[in-house]
Amino acid sequence: MGSLAGWIATEFCQRRGAKDKLDGTMGTEVVLILLALFAVALVAGAFGSLAGLGGGMVIVPVLTIFFGVSIHYAIGASVVSVIATSSGAAATYIKANLTNLKVGLFLEMATTLGALTGAFVGSYLAGPFLFLIFGLVLGFSSFAMWQKRNQELPENVHPDTWSRQLHLADKYYDSVLQREVPYEVQGTRPALGLMYIAGIVSGLLGIGSGALKVLAMDLTMKLPIKVSSATSNFMIGVTAVASAGIYLARGYINPYLAAPVALGVLFGSVIGTHLLMVLKGQVIRWLFIGLLVVLSVQMLLKAVGIFN
């Protein structure tokens, strides 16, 4: 069987009996499949906009495993979903000044360049090796994040030269703490390096690499977790646009799949942005740690060839 879509359709058909087969137009089954796609995308969008991720790692496996979609079309739909999450959420985050536009744009230079590099060197790198590195990085990061689990806002931040020269410091109004939170930015150079790697990873694996982006901003730049999430959200849209052009030209952005996914993700991201505003930073951090553990295990399993 293998395909959830097919299963729903046949199940539905049997329940209703063969007598009232539809004719003339596409029937209820199509609506069911589209609704199922929409629902999956809704969850991916809500979670993605909350954690600063594109939701690609939810969309791609679900589409391929449960809906029997070929990997290229799945990645095409996921690229669209990343842009949708990003744009849907960024509208709110930018207005609320949760997004640090300057930090986002500054780092985006490294990410887009990395994505370009990834597209070039992809074939020279061994897949399992890459998954191993990625899995280990995510594993260590989840540990680093766990150590900061009780910290609502970053402490002891020492802005570097570039941070001061480019005036990266900013403030936002935290509706949970009910006060304005001013923050400084440090570690601009290591962050650029990490973002370049994040870009390579997204170029290679076709994922938004939002997880790596949030990590770089959280651990090296020491931004408040809400700002890291919101800024990553803004960035993944820009990075995804680079791959979107390629996937569109190659015919991998299939309207039948991308339409319900885009709509679902858009509505989901609206839900996610509202959640981010009202949740505590620590809750978001915990969500993110859980996600990192799952991802890193998934990557390590891929590295040893157990899970595809």
């Binding site: 539809l22 985006e108 230079m109 009910q178 006060r179 820009v238 052009g245 390629i246 339409a259």
Partner: protein, 155 residues
């Protein structure tokens, strides 16, 4: 850090333009507009597809559940389902009110939205004579342009 419960906090409702930069309201509005427009096209295209049972490109979608399963199988994995990918062809399809062309137009608008946003941000920085960030926006746009060119050339 322990948050003391009795700490008097001043409640300031609106966050202030602290970091100078492009007009955030404008950027937000453009994002919302782009997303809204794309939703309209996608929804109209989907509804048209469901009502007519036609993609606008495939002649014969056989009816019934079996017909649908075949359609899903081909649409999800095969090359049998045709849809336009170049902007020119998408536009022609939209003019003819073909459902899948409408959806593709919506997706194009969605992809174009972050690019437009980058242009506006760059323009905002230029306006404020913030050369460093005008340059940064320019670099990002240039890298995107290169990847688009490589994508079409390599495709």
């Amino acid at each position: 850090m322990a948050v003391s419960p009795v700490k008097p906090t001043k409640i300031i409702q609106q966050s202030l333009p602290s970091q100078t930069g492009p007009d955030r309201l404008l950027l937000s509005l453009v994002l919302r507009g782009g997303v809204g427009l794309s939703v309209v096209f996608i929804v109209v295209g989907l509804v048209a597809f469901l009502v007519t049972g036609q993609t606008g490109y495939v002649e014969n979608l056989s009816a019934g559940v079996n017909g649908f399963i075949t359609f899903h199988a081909t649409a999800a994995s095969g090359n049998a389902i045709y849809f336009p990918t170049s902007p020119a062809e998408i536009w022609q399809g939209v003019m003819a009110f073909k459902p899948f062309a409408l959806i593709m137009l919506g997706l194009l608008v969605l992809i174009a939205t972050p690019i437009l946003n980058l242009f506006l941000a760059g323009w905002g920085f230029l306006h404020q004579k913030n050369w460093a960030f005008s340059l940064i926006c320019g670099v990002v746009l240039a890298i995107l342009a290169v990847s688009f060119l490589l994508g079409t050339a390599g495709g």
